[in-house]
Symmetry: C2
DNA sequence: TTGAAAGCGCTAACAC
DNA sequence: GTGTTAGCGCTTTCAA
């Protein structure tokens, strides 16, 4: 234990300490091939005694195999992505694969850099949020020769496989439900993020379906920055001051929706009688509010799991996914803020 | 561009395509050493044309340098950790270092496995949450020979450097403030996580300071699972049914505190007159609730930044941190739920 | 400014 | 069962 040599330990050290060849030590440490119980024990003891930690860099180079899966997401602060991660982890935990996360901050150029960085570690697969990428990113992914799963969005052409929901459809379905419930004067509150393609697609689908019903969005507003809950309250107040006629507000996510709900509840509004509300995501966190916001589950966990399963199947047996696009169908949850 | 050879590209391919030696190609791609502008251009063009992505595995093995920093946290679903991550990233972004995250789910054995896994990639440093680890983990960290920063908690003996707050002190200070405000019948609601050492230390400090003031916790309850917001409401209801006398509830985190606050607010309680509330964390997310919960900022972002700075200084110039323990001093925020 | 040779620490493939 | 040999793709070092 008196160790002041900063040189990291190598297989050779374990080999010498145990009197077993490097090759056999390697076999023991990886549980590969037949090794007698006796030498096995000797090696394990020596390794533990020395505190040897294998060098995966050397191992990966020699074996040409890396057990990492690159997971590229826009942000960790939006609860949506940790939940997708949880789905991915839950599947990969039972395999030899390990997720490694990269964050893009919703910036395509950063996505490109992160992707380049991650690919340079030669991962066994890539799971990447969204279906829109720069040309350079797409080229890298195609050239990588590894399985690529684009997640969360199916409105587009996947590079390899896409797993997600159609946000356009989600927007349409919510609009349809709102119209069916008899609301007519509809407002929209969203985030000011030109690069949040999924939010935009929802909005597009939403207005499109309203149009089919002969209804136009009466007022809309986009925010950026700040606490979503606070912004939701504040913007709800503003939009209703401007358009007191509104009988429904569709929020681009549950967080600002919850802010609006709390505010209106506080004001003693009759929800969903005089005014209805709906968000998007199905954030579990919000269970426990005085009233339950209508929303649509983005199926984050399912998406994460499916994506991981596809990668694992490819790595394990080379099985490609049966289809290029795997689309989940989220259902509306009416909560207490949308009439049936 | 007609590429159906799945073999990944190597330096040699770029070398051949550009007619420049591998060595010089390597120099260009790393911006090392003097290379004439002419060859430089040739190489860059060839690399881009081919879509070459360097192999960091080989690079790392040859150079014995890895630009990764292992960041080991208990969970990504607790907003606390993404915020620490953001602090870390903000600093590392301006360096050549890259964070790589591992999640332990608050399990010491999993921490051990994750640590082993990450160390086997020979990162340049480790940032790890908490100051309690298994003996094996501590041994690995010590033997690794790389800078190690334990974050979030300073109540203990660091392996190398610790950056955080004293949760014991945090609990004490909250207790003192509560007593000073004149509350006397105090309840506590927390999470049932024996391995959340920081929550436990806060509770210990809290009861200790109350005891000094001659006060004992009148009722306490621990929950596990479910939405924190919902649990906060539910448990608040229960504890008050059991002990209607309570004039203060201290929550082990802001999320269940917010649940309690929403519930009591709904009930029309006089807060902070008849009953006071306080949480812990300073979760930005909660700005925008009808009333602001008293809390104490855990200084997550500062801690993340400081930890990253320490690692970078060590990697860059070998500068060790000036002190082994760097303790931040969070201040109480009284909000609307704690009398002054 | 450029190139050639010699590894980095490990594992695939093949002997024994 | 165990050992030997020859790389994996890059960078270090030294020579030109």
């Amino acid at each position: 234990m008196a160790d002041d040599d900063p040189r990291p330990l190598t297989l050779r050290d374990v080999s010498e300490a145990s009197g077993v060849s490097e090759m056999t030590v390697s076999r023991v440490l990886r549980n590969r091939g037949d090794v007698s119980e006796a030498t096995r024990k000797k090696v394990l003891e020596a390794a533990k005694e020395l505190g040897y930690v294998p060098n995966k860099i050397a191992g990966a180079l020699a074996s040409q195999r890396v057990n990492l899966v690159a997971v590229i997401i826009p942000s960790m602060r939006n609860m949506v992505f940790p939940e997708v991660m949880a789905g991915i982890s839950s599947v990969l935990e039972d395999t030899e694969l390990q997720p490694v996360v990269g964050v893009t901050d919703y910036e395509p150029e950063k996505e490109e850099r992160v992707l380049y960085e991650m690919l340079s570690w030669r991962p066994s697969g890539v799971i990447i949020a969204g279906i829109e990428h720069t040309e350079a990113s797409k080229a890298m992914l195609k050239a990588s020769g590894i399985p690529v799963v684009e997640i969360m969005d199916t409105d587009g052409t996947p590079i390899d496989t896409a797993v997600g929901i159609s946000h356009r459809r989600a927007g349409r379905e919510m609009a349809t439900a709102i119209l069916k419930a008899g609301y007519q004067k509809i407002g929209f509150l969203g985030t000011k993020m030109p690069l949040d393609f999924r939010a935009r697609k929802r909005f597009e689908g939403f207005t499109e379906a309203l149009a089919k019903g002969g209804v136009e969005v009466m007022a809309q507003e986009f925010y950026s920055g700040g606490s979503a809950l606070a912004k939701g309250a504040e913007m709800t107040k503003e939009i209703l001051e401007r358009e007191p006629e509104l009988d429904f507000i569709y929020y681009s996510n549950d967080m600002i929706g919850a802010g609006g709900l709390l505010y209106l509840h506080e004001q003693g509004c009759n929800i969903p009688g005089d005014i209805g509300l709906a968000g998007f995501n199905g954030i579990e966190l919000l269970q426990g509010l005085p009233r339950k916001l209508a929303t649509m589950d983005a199926m984050r966990s399912e998406i994460g799991r499916k994506a991981a399963e596809i990668i694992w199947a490819r790595v394990e047996n080379g099985d490609a996914a049966p289809e290029k696009i795997i689309e989940f169908s989220p259902k509306i949850s009416y909560g207490d803020t949308l009439r049936r």
